[in-house]
Symmetry: C2
Subunit: 250 residues, 2 copies
């Protein structure tokens, strides 16, 4: 049964799904969607996801959207996926769901607040750092106060990941010895500001040594696919640089 | 094994968990938490949920928070729960997860944006309608523009539920013949503004006939527990009325 992934590598949620498939040897056809070119607004895409967001999948005649739901489905429907990605044990699985829910109302909410502020439905915008770039692109006033608040929210989420979700002996979330879908999903989210500005991303992450180690461990566990899929980052930065240059011209 | 539910009926997420347990004959001990009295900030509660939110559960020595994760856990760990609440079929289950995720970034985000605006971590505040009451309580300026925007977001979410999630022959979400955890979770959310103002709630919901029918069908499917748990609503409204009277005094 053929699996088609409608994805845009600029979206952290798309990247998590792509890396998961590659790391687990799941064959798929990639349907390249560029949300900046409004591909998500076409009638063809609405057939796959009427909510007009990436990622979305078609597996045979089964359609699904929302990245967490997709990761769980892929881990459940493809028998080759090792148990550690989405454990069958009811208690371990419950903890995975708890982290996925927490992700929605913490790390992800930073992005959602930005998209809300800018009246956009692109919830993979880059928050805090990208705030100014988005404003420039749309001809909107900069809101440095909002950017500072968003950065504060992000830093608080990072601190909670360090002090709570990364407790325990293992290198991964929930103290696990091996990675699960929550590591991929949250690490891809934490990587997102790098698409806007490397040095700013470094500045925000540098106080969080445990987060930095977790990112490295997740990269290593999904080598070479993590870097392969994140090779979009320099292109994203180029685009933002261009916007900044344009905006600085009188 | 004893099940303890730490809940506050003012929280729509707590109500969904309470109704689920009662409708499925799951025995539990209720631990009454009042977030307005800062019970979620005590060291005792932090032992159960370090994120300081309700609902949270303790089952034997297993602790869990995040309402969606709790509903899934209860449906999975208690063998008496009928399959329709959280189907074992991988495709049906995937669709349930998709709705739960959508809930986070749509209906729930209205509440989260309000709590963000007011710098509170009580994400069960009442949005749009309650906006003014919260502002009064905290001595903050009213933000009618924000309230209007929040109401627009809510109405858009309701329209999407009607036009997409309630498609199909059955009376419940995903066109199901019988209710599932998503019906309980989303209906409790949609009921929340009633805790602030009955007539405003009616005004917002009245254009959405399909939503009104779905609320009734979900109530009927969980009778008498739905009304029993929602009997908190008049108390919430009394509190808000008092605040409004206080604020109108010179």
């Amino acid at each position: 049964m053929e699996l088609k992934l409608s994805v845009d590598r600029l979206s952290q949620l798309s990247r998590a799904v792509l890396i998961f498939c590659k790391a687990n040897g799941i064959e798929f056809e990639k349907v390249k969607i560029e949300f900046t070119k409004k591909h998500t607004r076409t009638p063809e895409f609405a057939e796959i996801n009427p909510m007009q967001k990436v990622p979305a999948i078609v597996h045979g005649d089964f359609k699904l959207f929302e990245s967490h739901a997709i990761l769980i489905y892929l881990a459940s429907a493809f028998p080759g996926v090792a148990d550690h990605w989405y454990p069958a044990d009811v208690h371990k699985r419950a903890k995975i769901h708890s982290v996925l829910d927490w992700h929605h109302s913490n790390l992800r909410v930073v992005q959602i607040i930005v998209s809300y502020s800018f009246d956009t439905d692109e919830s993979c915008v880059f928050g805090y750092i990208f705030n100014s770039a988005i404003a420039i692109e749309r001809g909107l006033p900069l809101n440095l106060q909002a950017a500072a608040k968003e950065e504060k929210l992000l830093s608080e989420s990072l601190a909670k990941i360090e002090s709570y979700w990364l407790q325990g002996d293992g290198p991964f979330l929930l103290g696990n010895e091996k990675p699960s879908i929550i590591d991929l999903s949250l690490v891809c989210e934490v990587m997102q500001p790098e698409a806007a500005d490397e040095s700013e991303h470094e500045r925000i992450l540098s106080p969080h040594k445990r987060i930095l180690k977790w990112i490295e461990d997740t990269k290593n566990a999904t080598t070479p696919y993590f870097d392969e899929i994140h090779s979009i980052m320099p292109l994203a930065r180029e685009k933002i640089k261009e916007l900044k240059v344009q905006a600085s011209k009188p």
